[in-house]
Subunit: 283 residues, 2 copies
């Protein structure tokens, strides 16, 4: 590699993190380098990563986090697979801004998300107009903030003067991505260390980090789509793979057949890969 | 997909074409979604595609083709696998410029490359400083233009007043990428039609287009690295796969073990995928 130009910048590393995440295999239940679902395929994630850069570039250039996120989701949506990387963008967008401003540490990332505004929250709701995202019922008493209302919820956001950080706090108990926003991206930074300290090709490191994350905590996307029992089973069986008691590839086939898709854990893996790349992980 | 913003632009489609090309499988002899070489892996191509966008963006914005190509190669080089997509960038860069100026037809692409200058040729030579590219000996009498001399050849380029198009003409007989420059990208546009008219997931369309290209004409990269006999065999056996007499996956394993890597055919496949995307191929 010649030394005549800087390497990848944070926006490029975020795009690469999306690509390395989906390439990671085996990653039981998710689309990966070796596995497609019939209507959600590897190529949809490739196109999603291409389009997402628009948002990462805005975030790196200092745009509001909500605006950059919404533009990233818009770019991601130009493929026919539907929601490929919505949660990953919600993690990566503030992390890109933290990196671009020399603050890619837990406190720095926390400062970025705590600085979000009501306008960012409105952008977040607008992002749901670009794709169908599988979400849970809203907590009791805040039906007017149901993300499925999209832009229609914007008036409620303004009335309540909620920032995007506030919105994430409302969901942090039942959404693993929102939880990262409120705890300083704890799991993303922890898993980044695993990836940096690991060795071998990155598609294997990504697989191992995914399994460790999944074994440590239930995937909230699985809770929402498949229920708490399946989510608990998913976590147990990820641990079985780590213990050598189950074969990861066989588990990947089984989860695919049962449509058990730990998507939030994949989002966390993408965030971890980004931090690892920014920490010097060599591709 | 909501209608509130344009879809992918030509620079983004070129990046996606690189990703769809390497994901295409089986693609006997090449890195693909299912196969790595030990030191040249799928992840190197992902990083190469991320970095290449810098050049595509310049080409779309009207920079000189040589300059955009050199910057693309520089961006591509920020990974440890070496030369991943040099030839593909040499095809895609002028095609992006043709698309961005509403001329993505054979005559339009020909006009773009015929308009290249001596400065473009100098940029082309500088691009070789970023990566090691496997090339043949230069034709007799033009040793001073050996691309392996990199920037040292620039003085000779200026003395001889050679444009980048002229340089490509010198190599067109023995380099499949240079041949495309001089014949109006004939094979790239033809294979794009195959891809658009095909059906099913794109990773299979890319595989079929690759095999048809390889069966139709010897891969000049294989000629350079493995000799004419192996190149002839490669073409025959691609035809056997198309005829149903050989299994593509078995052939892919065999070619990988023998280090037979039809890289120029992969470059043409990437160019064809780009044209197909610009023609409306839906991902």
């Amino acid at each position: 590699m010649p030394g005549d130009a800087p390497g990848r910048d944070p926006a490029e590393n975020a795009q690469l993190a999306l690509l390395l995440e989906v390439a990671g295999t085996p990653k039981p239940g998710n689309v990966d380098r070796r596995r497609d679902y019939e209507d959600l395929r590897f190529e949809h994630f490739l196109a999603g990563a291409v389009g997402s850069l628009r948002g990462f570039r805005l975030a790196a250039d200092g745009a509001r986090v909500g605006r950059a996120f919404e533009r990233g989701v818009e770019g991601m949506s130009h493929q026919s697979g539907g929601n490929t990387q919505f949660g990953a963008l919600l993690l990566l967008t503030p992390l890109v801004q933290a990196a671009a401003t020399g603050r890619l540490r837990r406190e720095g990332a926390a400062a970025v998300v705590e600085a979000t505004t009501v306008e960012d929250a409105c952008d977040f709701y607008r992002a749901f107009e670009h794709v169908d995202v599988a979400v849970d019922e809203p907590p009791e008493g805040i039906d007017d903030l149901d993300v499925r209302r999209g832009s229609d919820a914007v008036d409620s956001i303004r009335d309540r003067e909620l920032t995007l950080f506030d919105v994430m706090e409302l969901s942090a108990q039942r959404d693993g991505v929102a939880a990262e926003w409120t705890n300083g991206f704890e799991r993303s930074f922890e898993a980044a260390e695993w990836i940096v300290d690991d060795d071998g090709p990155i598609y294997r490191r990504a697989s191992r980090a995914f399994l460790r994350l999944l074994a440590a905590e239930e995937d909230t996307f699985v809770v929402t789509r498949n229920g708490p029992d399946v989510a608990a089973e998913t976590t147990r069986r990820a641990q079985s793979v780590l213990d050598g008691d189950e074969d990861a590839d066989e588990l990947a086939e089984e989860f695919r057949e049962r449509d058990v898709n730990p998507g939030t854990t994949a989002d966390l893996t993408a965030a971890a890969l980004f931090v690892a790349l920014e920490r010097g992980l060599e591709v």
